[in-house]
């Protein structure tokens, strides 16, 4: 009828398939290269973490929590570690942690330079911004399909989907942070003879650091949530526990996996945030604070009173 006449088919799906086929045929070498590099990075982190005696790793995490956040959070970390051991999901948690760290690092290694390029060049920003919007509005599950097609099943496609999903905040907040550096600081840098690179390294990046750290924090949190989803294509870890719980309709198991994710999220969030709120490049707590305390006794500080 009239409806049939009006029907216009746009075969978006077919085009994408054709594109994917083409990539699979022609870019095998590139795909393999990416796969090898990622596998090496993942192995390095996950392997090291899993190879550590659990108590040592747990001790490290508690120590980090206490040093960066405070003794109360240290106590929380102790309880969290005990809970993870008690629920017998330690290995899954460590595996997830390794994958999160590996894919976050790769996401940051790609995302921060893109953010810098975006901040320094308006045309780059004009191209990258809609791409980021696209990446962030796409439902995370959709990333699993091309990842699985190009890289099969396992940790590498899991990491690929994760790093793509987790990258946008690092790009955005790096760009934002650099663009927010005050005109007066830029002028001061230029007035004292900074080259473009010096301006970036000595003025823009340090002043953008709080914003960049917020981006890093968000990237890590997004990576954690995506790693759980990526267990559907065999990324393993805590996501697997949750997935098994769903498949067997085992509420208890699913909850344990979920609780593990939450504990890990809280630890990662608070610890990475603490780096963002550090006011200066070097952590002023710990050693530096001690040093300044002692320096204050020296002749240098006598004029202060």
């Amino acid at each position: 009828m009239a409806n049939d006449n009006l029907q216009i088919e746009i075969p978006v799906g077919e085009w994408v398939e054709a594109g994917v086929d083409w990539i699979q045929v022609n870019l095998t070498g590139v795909l393999d290269g990416i796969s090898d590099v990622l596998a090496a990075v993942i192995d390095a982190f996950e392997g090291t973490l899993l190879a550590m005696p659990p108590l040592v790793l747990a001790g490290l995490i508690v120590g980090l929590a206490t040093w960066r956040v405070g003794w109360r959070f240290g106590l929380f970390a102790v309880a969290a570690m005990a809970l993870l051991f008690g629920m017998d999901i330690w290995d899954e948690t460590v595996s997830t942690l390794g994958l999160v760290i590996a894919s976050s690092l790769v996401a940051l290694a790609i995302g921060i330079p893109i953010g810098i390029a975006m901040a320094r060049n308006d045309s780059v920003e004009a191209v990258v911004r809609p791409l980021l919007d696209f990446m962030q509005t796409m439902p995370p599950f959709v990333y699993l399909i091309p990842a699985a097609i190009f890289f099969g099943l396992g940790k590498v496609p899991g990491a690929i989907a994760t790093l793509i999903f987790a990258m946008p905040p690092a790009v955005r907040l790096t760009n934002l942070g650099i663009r927010q550096v005050g005109e007066e600081h830029i002028e001061a840098g230029q007035a004292f003879g900074c080259t473009g690179r010096q301006l970036l390294v000595k003025v823009q990046l340090p002043l953008a650091m709080p914003s960049i750290m917020a981006g890093i924090n968000q990237t890590i949190m997004l990576a954690l949530s995506m790693v759980v989803i990526a267990s559907m294509i065999g990324a393993g870890g805590l996501g697997n526990t949750v997935l098994t719980g769903i498949q067997r309709l085992d509420v208890g198991l699913g909850f344990e996996g979920g609780l593990g994710v939450v504990l890990l999220a809280i630890l990662l969030d608070r610890i990475t945030q603490s780096f963002g709120t550090a006011r200066r490049g070097a952590a002023p707590s710990g050693l530096a604070r001690l040093k300044r305390l002692f320096a204050a006794d020296g002749p240098g500080a006598s004029g202060r009173g």
Partner: protein
């Protein structure tokens, strides 16, 4: 003195089509008309001046008058649209990128209104910033930065961070950062405007003191005439992107070019503008102390001219003392036998004041005395007197 910075026909047009705006400017259109026609803004038009080595040159104007734009064209933080800026005879508008960077590192440094310190760097590292970007080794640059901090009195705070310091101290760091590079030219963009009045005055004095020991060529941007008068050797006044008058503080105050200039010093304390030497008048009869002129002769001279007061000077015009008809007559009567000495006739309560004494100092002495105050130069030469009438006339000039 040598001319350090020479600005010739300097223009800055903000907007998409500066050429068109320049053409219209040449036809004599005003800033507002050009904005209407082309949507471009004239920032600075036809600036023309020469700053001498070691001079403090103040550029004054209200906000929007183009003074900040003008100073930024002197180190090309803002690119001039047309014209020349010669520093030591070299046109910096023609400089390539590398030469410009060198210029900024070693010849022209800058102090900012908002301080613009790097919050992640300690005071010492901030002061060493300019040296660091020019590639100086850590030890050497820290030594030089420490010296600069000492100069501004902040040596004890080298390890502090900017947010631990008060505004005045932060700007001292900004000043130290500029001094550390040992650049001969200092651009100071409203450097003290963000400070509270007491600290501002203190910093101005500090700058004047600094100039007396290590003279820089300073271009100082300000919107405050009191400040300009305090520190400026010469003042350029800007209005709507043009320089309307350039002159010494006295010239600006006594002979303002137009109402805009005049409007600046409503409320300005003239006692800071002038010193005793500026207003001293030769209103009183002078009597030379030499052989053949004695007290009686002087007395006769005063009576002849109908004056009550006289100033006695020697042949080198050195000030000796002030006499009146009464004091002369009394001294002559007392020393009836021998020739009376001049000293006996001098009025004891009158003492000369140096020419560079501020009006505020002279004010009290003139008001509290029945006699005018004689003014002498640095070499002791008599310059004139300041009396109540002269003072009132001066104070009245600006109100």
């Amino acid at each position: 003195m040598q001319e350090k910075v020479v600005v010739k026909g300097l223009y800055k047009i903000f907007g998409p089509e500066p050429e068109q705006a320049l053409a219209l400017l040449d036809q004599g259109l005003s800033k507002d008309e050009i904005f209407e026609h082309t949507r471009t803004t004239v920032g600075v038009q036809n600036a023309e001046f020469a700053i001498r080595e070691g001079e403090v040159f103040v550029i004054m104007g209200l906000s929007g008058s183009g003074k900040s734009t003008l100073v930024r064209m002197l180190n090309r933080l803002i690119e001039p649209t047309r014209g020349q800026v010669l520093i030591d005879g070299q046109d910096i508008t023609q400089m390539g990128k590398q030469a410009l960077i060198e210029l900024r590192r070693s010849v022209v440094s800058m102090v900012f209104q908002s301080f613009a310190l790097m919050p992640h760097r300690s005071v010492l590292e901030n002061a060493a910033f300019g040296l660091e970007v020019s590639g100086m080794h850590k030890e050497e640059r820290h030594a030089r930065a420490s010296r600069a901090l000492e100069t501004v009195g902040l040596a004890p705070y080298a390890d502090s961070y900017p947010d631990e310091l008060s505004g005045g101290m932060q700007q001292r760091v900004g000043l130290a950062r500029a001094l550390a590079t040992e650049a001969p030219i200092l651009l100071m963009d409203e450097a003290f405007s963000a400070l509270d009045p007491l600290i501002r005055t203190e910093m101005q004095d500090e700058l004047v003191r600094l100039q007396s020991t290590q003279a820089h060529t300073i271009v100082f941007i300000s919107h405050d005439l009191d400040e300009a008068i305090r520190i400026g050797d010469r003042i350029a006044i800007m209005e709507g992107g043009s320089i309307v008058q350039i002159g010494t503080p006295e010239e600006i105050v006594t002979r303002p070019a137009n109402d805009y200039v005049r409007s600046f010093f409503y409320g300005v304390d003239v006692s800071k503008v002038f010193n005793a030497g500026d207003i001293a008048a030769d209103d009183v009869l002078t009597v030379f102390e030499r052989t053949g002129v004695n007290l009686r002769a002087a007395l006769a001279q005063l009576r002849d001219r109908g004056r009550t007061l006289g100033v006695v000077i020697d042949r080198g015009r050195q000030y000796r003392g002030m006499v009146s008809i009464n004091s002369l007559a009394a001294a002559a009567a007392r020393g009836a036998g021998e020739e009376p000495r001049w000293e006996a006739a001098f009025i004891g309560e009158v003492a000369p004041t140096p020419a560079d004494a501020g009006l505020s100092d002279v004010l009290g002495r003139v008001a509290g005395s029945d006699y005018p105050v004689p003014v002498v130069g640095a070499d002791g030469r008599y310059l004139g007197i300041v009396d109540k009438t002269i003072l009132l006339q001066t104070l009245d000039k600006t109100t």
